[in-house]
Symmetry: C2
Subunit: 429 residues, 2 copies
Amino acid sequence: MTSSKKDSKGKADGIAAYMRERGERARAAARAMARADTGTKNAALFSLANILIEESSAILAANAADLRDGRSAKLDEAMLDRLELNADRIAAMADGVRQVANLPDPVGELHDLKQRPSGIQVGRMRVPLGVIGIIYESRPNVTADAAALCLKSGNAAILRGGSEALRSNLAIGRCIERALTDAGLPRDAVQVLDITDRRTVSEMVAMPEYIDVVIPRGGKGLVAAVSESAKVPVIKHLDGICHVYIDGEADIDKAIAVAVNAKTQRYGTCNTMETLLVDKAIAARVLPELARIYAEAGVELRGCPATRQLISEARPATEEDWRTEYLAPILSIRIVDGIDAAIEHIETYGSHHTDAIVTENYSKVRRFLREVDSSSVMVNASTRFADGYEYGLGAEIGISTDKFHARGPVGLEGLTTMKWIVLGDGHVR
Amino acid sequence: MTSSKKDSKGKADGIAAYMRERGERARAAARAMARADTGTKNAALFSLANILIEESSAILAANAADLRDGRSAKLDEAMLDRLELNADRIAAMADGVRQVANLPDPVGELHDLKQRPSGIQVGRMRVPLGVIGIIYESRPNVTADAAALCLKSGNAAILRGGSEALRSNLAIGRCIERALTDAGLPRDAVQVLDITDRRTVSEMVAMPEYIDVVIPRGGKGLVAAVSESAKVPVIKHLDGICHVYIDGEADIDKAIAVAVNAKTQRYGTCNTMETLLVDKAIAARVLPELARIYAEAGVELRGCPATRQLISEARPATEEDWRTEYLAPILSIRIVDGIDAAIEHIETYGSHHTDAIVTENYSKVRRFLREVDSSSVMVNASTRFADGYEYGLGAEIGISTDKFHARGPVGLEGLTTMKWIVLGDGHVR
């Protein structure tokens, strides 16, 4: 073995040991967290909100150091913007934590307690998942946000943020630690990793004995890399290739309102429409007006041949366009022959994220709701509503594009599971 | 490359192609299954029950061939017994299928449709998971049973049974195919693999694009092997190291009834008690009587030193005993210092399957229910109740010892997930 290989192996072993030690501490803390009552957890959260404000100058100093290094490392402006904290952003973080404190506690809810013929009563109790690993990029606000959701749902958390935000994250982590210990909760209930070596991620997803689920929050590359080698369950969010289908029996005003909002309200979000499908029966009545509005908004249009006959300025859409999440002011448009062709297109090219139909026809609504296999299926509403706050979850830890466990926006409930409860009076089989 | 390596590689490629082709067909069938209405699915199930009876002689002939080969291969008696079919067992299979037909259809249920401040209505619809892979040992009844549950829950299924039961499984598979096509459902909705090479399993768990979840039904070795390399979610059932804790404030009669039933009602089941924990405050009052009853039933006792002072015939229990699922008439007994020590023992040595407390104390009930992190937690009831039928699920596809998605007995609901539904009237953000 060469010496460099030895070094690298030594480092890897060191990181493995570091992560296992963190995992053991998290597992121990998870038991205390599962027992913690709602009042104690809320006290820790309100205290955290206050500490974040009190410690603003320490957090901002740490953040300034991160930003300075980020600029030296020539990070792009978007990344620096996500990395940057200021008084307003810290206040928003504290507000977010207070909002989570004000949400109902899902832990301990007892569901459907029923009497069985044998005499026992059977029901289910909502309980924490245990230890949650969160892997995210250089956005320090995620540290407070994810910690709050894990804490409220009675879980322990290991947070591994991006290296560019390490000092900011650790400063926020110290606030979390203080809030936990002030409330009498174990300080290991939320651990912000102080090593950001890439192998912390590969170790984390390979420790099912310590980690019950990993949630990667970030771009598609990060999510794919985490999922690839995971030995633990992953709540993952991949593509958001969202469609609006304007049916032949749509109300024209609703169709235009929804199609415009779904594309133009924000371009970079996962629930933004990327492809507009239009029934050929109505295309000539909606597309010219939509093209005018999109042109005003500066949206580039790419269309199928039939679309280009109605919108001359549209560029030809390629097969690749139907599969692309633009996250930009670009829209592909396809004219289809009714709801069957629309559903077929969505199932073939979509990413099962969020898809909407605009129609007044009752039977088509029923079919679309049932047959479109996406985490959110909408009728006469903008795809932009696919969001934990809009759905009333209070906050979301992510949006799952998987089917297993949780689909779509994941709130506190997604960080819990149900165990069975049996109440008897000396009953035997 | 040697020629044998080439052959083996060629074979592996062949199996990969075979499994991918099966996966594609299942994925296509899953769409039709998700759309299928309850009446059609029930018609297929009732038809299957009839066809199984009609085709009894063909099934029994196939089974006789499997049994003949099994005897030549010197399979042990227990395995031959599981493999064997007869008229009664086919009738029981058909009854099981009819029972599934009579269960409520979970697909399409709409939950919690709520009005949001934005004006939209948001709710969740229960939908099938998609394609379910079932991997099981040589028990042909699982073929009909698993097919029925997957069909009723609107999923497509790929069934890979043990090689010793191949002919029996294929004969039952032909009945399923007929029932599906008679009802107008795609015949690929349930595919019984006609190759049982081990690589069918490794390919199946590596095709997340075609398989949404894999359920291994069988011994611990099978389950561990399947989970090890899985790239798809697995609903798995590992150990059942179940405890009964007799608290100092237990009712003596209930304690004895529960402790006897949990051990002796059946020895080989996962929900049988393996370790009895007894509060030192009550040990002298319950253990001698229990020892007498266990001795009569032929149960071997292994105890901690304090136990052996009360039960002289008990052998010493080792550290290993606390971690062992005997699945046999053997019981380990430990005297503990109250509920904290009992919970500590369960969390340290248990397998989070099923654990029970016997007590009359209200606060201890609350603590035990909340703090014991097992898929079933019971009060004054025998652990033997941990079962899909006893819980009112109608049938179970397995018992999950995981926390993610489903815990404990998994019925039709565990084969589904929820998607979000948004109803608007032209609403935009």
